[in-house]
Symmetry: C2
Subunit: 176 residues, 2 copies
Amino acid sequence: MKVIAYMAQSLDGYIAGPNGELDWLEEIENPEGSDLGFAEFMAGVDALLMGRNTFEKVLSFGFWPYDKPVYVASNSLKGIPADLEGKAFLISGTLAEMLAVLADEKGVQSLYLDGGKLIQSALSQDLLNEMTVTTLPVILGQGISLFGHLEAKKKLQLKGSEVLLDQLVKTKYLLC
Amino acid sequence: MKVIAYMAQSLDGYIAGPNGELDWLEEIENPEGSDLGFAEFMAGVDALLMGRNTFEKVLSFGFWPYDKPVYVASNSLKGIPADLEGKAFLISGTLAEMLAVLADEKGVQSLYLDGGKLIQSALSQDLLNEMTVTTLPVILGQGISLFGHLEAKKKLQLKGSEVLLDQLVKTKYLLC
């Protein structure tokens, strides 16, 4: 199973402001409402695995943006909202255990891993295969770090880079 | 006077490892010894202003890589090594004072500002006009941050992005 992260960050490596602010993501002019390639990316994955924080952020959007099964990693959540039955599913265990369940029992071949903590765990345990990072033209100066603290450096292999909306740099890496 | 930063960072925003390590900068294959556009960039500036830490790092190279006047910002250094007479010059004061001296007394029109602390000061005081950041395909996980902590976010304007050596993403921004 291929495990893929797909994230946006500020030029200084934050995925959100210090209090989880995401307003800076909306400040890029996008007159034609481009999805920046998200639908194409989603078409290539079989399922998502996200953390509880990310799940609750998505719930706050007021609509459900995914057409693939979403597994919500949590040892504390008791259930999934009724209107998401068949769309979102609770899963628990260590990251390696959850990935094994998704690959072996659910037949997932290409997994979109979302959420800062899960991505950091996957990176530090060498469980991440691919990563697309879109860098916005802003320096937040403080906030929630995409990669956080790692004990050892991780080498990547650039697979492509493109400019979107004349302001974003979308870059794809493979983990070495 | 235009004040320009020209830096390399890891994907997670570090310019050096926790103990100043720069070895990761040398790990990209560069069989033809490309200077990644540095000579062209240098041709467009009139002078450099760097901090003491950066100056001492450059001295450790064992050769002097600049053909433009280098101003070394320091309130503690007593002098410049004799063999750099006419090449490097001490300057002191606040950043705004030093920039005023360079612009008004030295006639500098385009200044290459080097060093993490000076760049952070210039950013926070809105004294930086332009920035080229080359992102290497590595996540260091810890180290010396390029941008550090800022009280307020800074919006940038993307002016161009190119891939170098098939692995580096070199991106130019204007400050808004």
